[in-house]
C-alpha cells in the first residue's frame, strides 16, 4: 500500500486566458502552490467549456475578455460547483460587480502571493460556500443603462448564442428557464429575475411572476377570468398575464 501522491489528491485547476504570456505566469505561480494541479489551459470561451467537461476542474482562473465567449458567459455555463476566480487587466464595471457580489478577482499584473490567496479563498468556497450568482454578476458588470446584447445557453456539449433581437421570451420552470427563440426552446439554469435584470426593461416585460416576454412579440391581449389576461404572441403562443404584469404592460404601451 502506498500513500496517494500529492498530485492525485491535488485540486484540479483550469486556466482560461487568450494570451499565452498571461497563461504562462498563472501556470508558473500555480505550479508553486501545494495542493493544486493545473490540468489544462484554454485560449477562448468555447475551449474552456469543453475542457471543463473533460477535465473536471474544481477551480477555474477566468479572463474576462476572450474570443467567442467572455468570462461572464463562461461562468454562466459552467457547473456552479466550480469555484471561479476572475483575472482582469482593467474593467471598472466588472470590478464593481465583483465587489457587490463578493466574487474574488485578481488584477493583472499580479504577484505569486495574490494567486495563493485566491486559491485559499476558492478552497473555502469549495468546502461549502455559496455558488456565484452568475446571471446577476453578468448583469451587474455592465455600465448603468446598458443591457446584454445576447444570451448564452448550453445544450449538452453545444453552446447556443441567442442575440436579444431573436429572443421571444422566457418562462420559469422550477430551477430552469425556458428561453424561446425562432421557434425553439432552450433550457438554462438561471432565475427569471436575474435574466430580467440583464435585459432592457423597455423591451422585455415581466408579464407574470414566471413569464418574461419581448414586448414587440405580443400580438394582442385577451381578458381571462377575473382581472387576469392572456397575451397572445405573434407565433400564436399564449402567455398568462398577472394583474401586476398587466399594469406594467399598460404603462409601457401608454
Amino acid at each position: 500500500m502506498t500513500e496517494p501522491g500529492p498530485a492525485a489528491s491535488a485540486i484540479p485547476v483550469l486556466i482560461v486566458d487568450d494570451e499565452e504570456p498571461a497563461r504562462s505566469i498563472l501556470r508558473e505561480h500555480l505550479g508553486r502552490i501545494a495542493g493544486v494541479r493545473v490540468v489544462g489551459e484554454c485560449a477562448n470561451g468555447f475551449e474552456a467549456l469543453r475542457a471543463a467537461a473533460e477535465l473536471s476542474p474544481r477551480i477555474v482562473f477566468l479572463d474576462i475578455e476572450m474570443p467567442k465567449l467572455d468570462g461572464f458567459e463562461v461562468l454562466e455555463l459552467l457547473d456552479p460547483a466550480i469555484a471561479a476566480v476572475f483575472v482582469t487587466a482593467y474593467d471598472a464595471f466588472a470590478v464593481k460587480a465583483f465587489e457587490v457580489h463578493a466574487v474574488d478577482y485578481v488584477l493583472k499584473p499580479f504577484e505569486a502571493a495574490r494567486i495563493a490567496v485566491a486559491v485559499e479563498r476558492a478552497k473555502t468556497r469549495l468546502s461549502g460556500g455559496a455558488a456565484i450568482p452568475a446571471g446577476e454578476l453578468h448583469a451587474a458588470a455592465r455600465p448603468d443603462g446598458t443591457y446584454l446584447p445576447r444570451v448564452v445557453v448550453r445544450d449538452g456539449s453545444r453552446v447556443h448564442i441567442i442575440p436579444v433581437e431573436k429572443l421571444d421570451g422566457a418562462a420559469a420552470q422550477d430551477d430552469y428557464l425556458a428561453l424561446r427563440s425562432e421557434g425553439r426552446t432552450y433550457l438554462k439554469q438561471q432565475t427569471l429575475s436575474s435574466l430580467a435584470a440583464a435585459l432592457d426593461p423597455r423591451t422585455f416585460v415581466r408579464v407574470h411572476r414566471s413569464h418574461l416576454v419581448r414586448l414587440d412579440r405580443i400580438a394582442r391581449l385577451e381578458a381571462y377570468g377575473k382581472g387576469s389576461h392572456v397575451a397572445v404572441l405573434t407565433d400564436g403562443a399564449r402567455v398568462p398575464v398577472s394583474r401586476e404584469g398587466h399594469a406594467r404592460l399598460k404603462e409601457l404601451l401608454g
Binding site: M66, D70, A89
Partner: protein, 353 residues
C-alpha cells in the same frame, strides 16, 4: 442681491458719491423764494440718502428690462412708473420730516414753506431715480462683461480638459495593464523577451507623450507610433497578430493631427484581432494625391464573439477631432461588413512649411 449691497466696502463709496447730490438738492431747496439754508440742509441730506437706498431698487426693473432687447414702450413706462413711485415716496418722506422738524422752535412753520417746494422736490426725485437707473445699467453691463469673461475662461478650461482626455485616452489602461502582465510573465519564462517588451513599451509611451503635445505631426511619425504600439502587441498576441502596411512614400511628409492613426490601429487589434481565436491581419494604408491624404484601416473581427466596451468612444473621438480641425473638409467613415471592419479617412493634404 444688488452688487453694491452684496460686496462689503462698496456701500460707503456709493453713499459718499451721493454727498454732492445732497448739496445740489440743498441748493435747489434754498434758492431765492425757497427755504432757509438750515432747513434745506436738514431736509436735503436725509432725503438724498433715502433716495440713494431707493435708487438701488431700480436694479430689479433694470435687470428685467435690459436696454438692448427690450421694447421701448414697456421700458419707458416701467421706469416712469418707478420714478413717480420713488419720487412720491421721497416727497412724502420730506413732508413727514418737515412736520417732525416743526416740533422744534428753529424750524417753526416749515411745513407751510415746504409745500411750495414739493413740485421741485418731485422733479429732483425723478432725476435722481434716472441717475440711479443709469448707474444700475452700468453695473449690469459690467457684471455681464465679467460673466462673459468667466464663461470664456471656463470654456477654455473645458477645451483643454477635452484635449487632455484625448491624450489620456491614447494610452488605454487595458493595453497598459495587459502589457505589464506580459512582462511579468516573460520575466521568468523568457527574460530576453521581457526585456524586449519593456523597451518596446517604453518606446511607445515616450512617443505617445512627445507626439501628443504637438498640434501636427507627419504621417511618418504617426506610423512610427503605430508600429511601436504593434511591436508591443506582437509580443502579447504572438502569431495571432499580423500587420500589413501599404504606404505611399510621398505621404510620409504630410501633416496630421497627432494620435489619429494609432488609436484606430489599437481599436483594430482590441475589437478585431483579439476577438478571433485564430487572430488575423490588420491592414494599414496611407496614400496621397489630388490634394488629399487618404487613410484606410481594415481588420477582421469575429461577429460571434462578444463585443467589448469602448470602440464607439474611440471612433467618436477621432471624428470630433477631425471635424474640429478640418470642418466639412474631413471625411470619416467606419463600416462594419460581415466579418471585417473598415475605417476610411480623407483629409486635405498639408505639408510642412
Amino acid at each position: 442681491m444688488h452688487p453694491i449691497l452684496a460686496h462689503q466696502g462698496r456701500l460707503l463709496p456709493y453713499l459718499a458719491a451721493c454727498a454732492p447730490l445732497a448739496a445740489i438738492v440743498t441748493a435747489l431747496l434754498a434758492r431765492p423764494g425757497g427755504l432757509f439754508l438750515g432747513e434745506a440742509v436738514a431736509l436735503a441730506v436725509p432725503l438724498t440718502f433715502a433716495y440713494a437706498f431707493m435708487g438701488l431698487s431700480a436694479w430689479y426693473p433694470c435687470r428685467q428690462l435690459p436696454l438692448t432687447g427690450s421694447k421701448a414702450l414697456p421700458l419707458v413706462l416701467t421706469h416712469a412708473a418707478a420714478a413717480a413711485l420713488i419720487s412720491g415716496f421721497g416727497v412724502g418722506f420730506a413732508a413727514l420730516l418737515s412736520r417732525i422738524y416743526d416740533l422744534f422752535p428753529v424750524f417753526r412753520g416749515l411745513p407751510g414753506r415746504f409745500a411750495s417746494q414739493s413740485v421741485t422736490l418731485f422733479a429732483a426725485g425723478v432725476l435722481l431715480y434716472l441717475l440711479a437707473a443709469a448707474l444700475n445699467y452700468v453695473l449690469l453691463a459690467l457684471e455681464a462683461a465679467s460673466e462673459a469673461e468667466r464663461r470664456e475662461a471656463a470654456l477654455a478650461i473645458l477645451a483643454r480638459e477635452a484635449e487632455l482626455a484625448v491624450l489620456k485616452a491614447q494610452i488605454r489602461p487595458h493595453f497598459l495593464f495587459n502589457s505589464l502582465n506580459s512582462i511579468s510573465a516573460l520575466a521568468s519564462s523568457d527574460p530576453p523577451r521581457a526585456q524586449q517588451m519593456c523597451v518596446r513599451l517604453g518606446d511607445f509611451l515616450r512617443k505617445s507623450l512627445s507626439l501628443g503635445e504637438k498640434t501636427s505631426i507627419s504621417v511618418g511619425e504617426e506610423l512610427e507610433l503605430s508600429r511601436a504600439y504593434l511591436a508591443v502587441e506582437e509580443l502579447r498576441f504572438g502569431a495571432r497578430l499580423e500587420v500589413e502596411e501599404q504606404l505611399d512614400e510621398r505621404s510620409n511628409r504630410c501633416l496630421l493631427p497627432p494620435l489619429l492613426l494609432q488609436p484606430l490601429v489599437e481599436n483594430a487589434v482590441r475589437h478585431g484581432i483579439a476577438t478571433r481565436v485564430e487572430g488575423g491581419r490588420v491592414r494599414v494604408g496611407v496614400a496621397c494625391g489630388g490634394g488629399r491624404v487618404r487613410i484606410l484601416i481594415e481588420n477582421p473581427f469575429d461577429p460571434e464573439s462578444p463585443s467589448r466596451p469602448g470602440s464607439g468612444r474611440g471612433l467618436e473621438n477621432v471624428r470630433q477631432r477631425l471635424a474640429a480641425r478640418y470642418g466639412e473638409e474631413a471625411l470619416f467613415a467606419a463600416k462594419r461588413l460581415a466579418d471585417r471592419y473598415l475605417v476610411v479617412i480623407s483629409v486635405p493634404m498639408e505639408l510642412p512649411a
